[in-house]
């Protein structure tokens, strides 16, 4: 009925093209950073940054734990919340899992009767520990009116305390080889791919689908976009938040299990400050802290950007103080460049 009837077909394609436009823009930033390291590599180290199979897999490996957390926290942020407890949960679930994964060669095992268990038990226990914390977070938000920042700050402090109390500050080592196997590499199409990387990508895939194609996902976005409207549309916000935080907790638990397996040991301080990196990965990847927007694909790219930055500096043999200074600057620059690209696109 409008005078300027625009060919709907043509427009639909613009729309579907633009659906992943933000992610594409961020991916370009990722590639840009990688190329920068490649060039600097040839100039200063005389070596290629990217043409090294092993390095590529390490880039992902070293951020796979952050990535698993980030997948969880992305969902939380989409609801308009935040999860500060994920780093502490890594510590707790690493401890819990490790305590059930000790090998009987350790004469001082924490639970001497529970050594040499099949890895499924420690894995389950670790994940469950995370789930419990997540349910508490979600329950606090559903039943009371406190801000997510405070609820998860509280559990963050509390859970770290429990992790330390569990063994009175002692680390747990000497885990069974079956358990530490989770941290090892496998051959995928001739490439050695570490299992943590596969776990991360698998988790990302699942929640990419869950957010984009299920009711769970649609409700998650709706709550973040406008909680009042969501309620009037019939969504039970409380019970949905419990689900979202439970999933985030569960994933943090999984991250803890992976951490313990990789290190073949657990310390109660494991995962300290990981929550910030995870949140950063999500936000770099385009998730808005205001809630209602964000996608797992973006978070994966954000995670990879962190990974490339970390590996790149070590590769360039830059002193650690400079590394820190530049890491901060690059995080900001990545997002600034991305925003700039997008706003230019808007104008066209």
């Amino acid at each position: 009925m409008t005078a300027r009837a625009i060919d709907p077909g043509a427009l639909e394609t613009t729309a579907s093209k633009s659906k992943y436009q933000n992610e594409l823009s961020m991916a370009l930033v990722l590639v840009g950073i990688a190329i920068m390291f490649e060039i600097l590599g040839w100039i200063f180290v005389g070596d290629s940054f990217l043409a090294n199979q092993q390095r590529l897999s390490i880039i992902i490996l070293q951020v796979s734990v952050i990535g698993i957390l980030a997948v969880g926290v992305t969902q939380v942020i989409i609801t308009g919340g935040i999860d500060l407890s994920s780093g502490s949960v890594v510590g707790l679930s690493a401890m819990v899992a490790a305590s059930l994964a000790q090998s009987s060669t350790d004469p001082r095992a924490l639970f001497p009767a529970l050594t040499d268990l099949m890895p499924v038990w420690p894995i389950l226990a670790g994940v469950l520990a995370g789930l419990v914390v997540g349910v508490i977070n979600g329950g606090l938000l559903a039943k009371t009116n406190i801000p997510p920042f405070i609820a998860t700050l509280g559990t963050m402090v509390c859970v770290r305390g429990i992790a330390k109390w569990y063994t009175l500050g002692q680390p747990i080592g000497l885990l069974t080889p079956e358990f530490s196997w989770i941290g090892r590499s496998f051959n995928v199409l001739g490439f050695p791919v570490p299992l943590p990387v596969l776990i991360f990508l698998f988790v990302a895939l699942i929640f990419h689908v869950a957010l984009g194609y299920t009711r769970y996902g649609k409700f998650t976005y709706a709550i973040g976009a406008n909680p009042q409207a969501a309620r009037v549309s019939g969504i039970n916000i409380g019970s949905h938040l419990i689900k979202v935080y439970a999933i985030a907790g569960l994933l943090s638990g999984l991250a803890g299990v992976v951490t313990a397996a990789r290190a073949a040991s657990a310390q109660p301080t494991m995962g300290t400050a990981y929550e910030l990196d995870a949140i950063a990965a999500a936000v770099i990847g385009g998730t808005s802290l205001a809630g209602g927007s964000g996608r797992i694909l973006g978070t994966v790219i954000g995670t990879l950007i962190l990974g490339v930055i970390m590996s790149g500096f070590t590769f360039l043999k830059i002193g650690s103080y400079y590394q820190e200074i530049m890491k901060g600057a690059i995080i900001v620059a990545a997002v600034v460049i991305d925003q700039y690209r997008r706003s230019r696109k808007d104008r066209v």
Binding site: D106, R108, G173, G183
Partner: protein
């Protein structure tokens, strides 16, 4: 009354220190109150002030930053409360006066023992050409990490060990997972180290994990740590870890309690009181395992 104890942060080594303090105090029937400052100088100062407000008999301080010790010494002296520093050397160790004392071990010695151990083993293996050494450092703001690393450099400068060349050194913040990532990055950067010398055991574990993940031949690389924690001894028995240094933190804790009680009674104590480090290698590892 009580003895107030403030510990720099919670890590496995300091947890043993706490055990040493608590166990000995219990034996003596001496009540202690242990606080952990989480690496925060402000928090440690506040804990000490809280102890002063509670009028404790003595204070034991595992100082976070050696440079803050003059402030702490003055605070305790002003309040007339005896003070014992433990483990980390206070900056004013030479001028603590009569009511304060220090018990600990010399970090530089730890690094020296460790590096000498590596040097000896490399020599014994007949390594003569250039031997690349990677150093995994602790938190660089900690004097402990700085002195231990410096000692490694100094040993490598000795004529008999001059074949050791430090090819890179970076901080992994005492964190095994960070150490593991750092080591992996080093491997992909093409380093072929003859030795990886770590400021503590836990980071050495990270290096071992990284090397094993790429099926490195562990016989061709010397891995050295410090602390001789229980897990380290197990790693050593398996042939993964080659050198570590036993820091007798429990003995430090025991002495700290004894010294605090003496000071509180108005007695004089010998300060600084050094608890010696001991080199641990596969040859004598069983002896230390027996301690656990």
């Amino acid at each position: 009354g009580d003895i107030g104890v403030t510990i720099a942060t919670s890590d496995s080594n300091l947890a043993l220190l706490i055990q040493g303090i608590e166990a000995h105090a219990k034996e003596l029937g001496q009540p202690v109150q242990v606080e952990i400052a989480d690496g925060d100088v402000n928090k440690q100062l506040s804990q000490i002030q809280n102890f002063i407000a509670a009028d404790v008999d003595a204070i034991i301080v595992n100082v976070i930053e050696t440079s803050t010790s003059p402030t702490i010494t003055k605070m305790a002296a002003d309040a007339g409360i005896p003070l014992v520093y433990v483990n980390n050397t206070p900056r004013d160790v030479e001028s603590l006066g009569d009511t304060a004392a220090f018990v600990g071990s010399d970090e530089y010695v730890a690094g020296t023992l460790q590096a000498e151990g590596v040097c000896k083993r490399l020599t014994a293996r007949g390594v003569t050409g250039e031997a690349g050494v990677l150093i995994l450092q602790g938190i660089l703001a900690n004097e402990t990490a700085v002195l231990r690393s410096k000692a490694v450099h100094d040993v490598a400068a000795r004529p008999e060990c001059s074949f050791m060349k430090v090819i890179d050194e970076q901080s992994a913040n005492w964190d095994p997972v960070k150490a593991q990532d750092l080591m992996t990055n080093w491997i992909t950067a093409g380093y072929q180290p003859a030795a990886v010398i770590s400021n503590n055991d836990e980071m050495a574990f990270g290096a071992i994990n990284a090397l094993k993940a790429v099926s490195w031949n562990m016989d061709e690389v010397e891995i050295a740590g410090i602390d001789a924690v229980h897990e380290a001894l197990e790693y050593m028995k398996r042939g993964d870890l080659d050198v570590t240094v036993f820091q007798d933190v429990r003995a430090q804790g025991t002495s700290a309690v004894d010294m605090a009680i003496s000071l509180a009674k108005g007695e004089k104590v010998e300060s600084p009181h050094w608890i010696p480090y001991q080199l641990v290698t596969p040859e004598n590892v069983e002896e230390y395992l027996a301690k656990y």
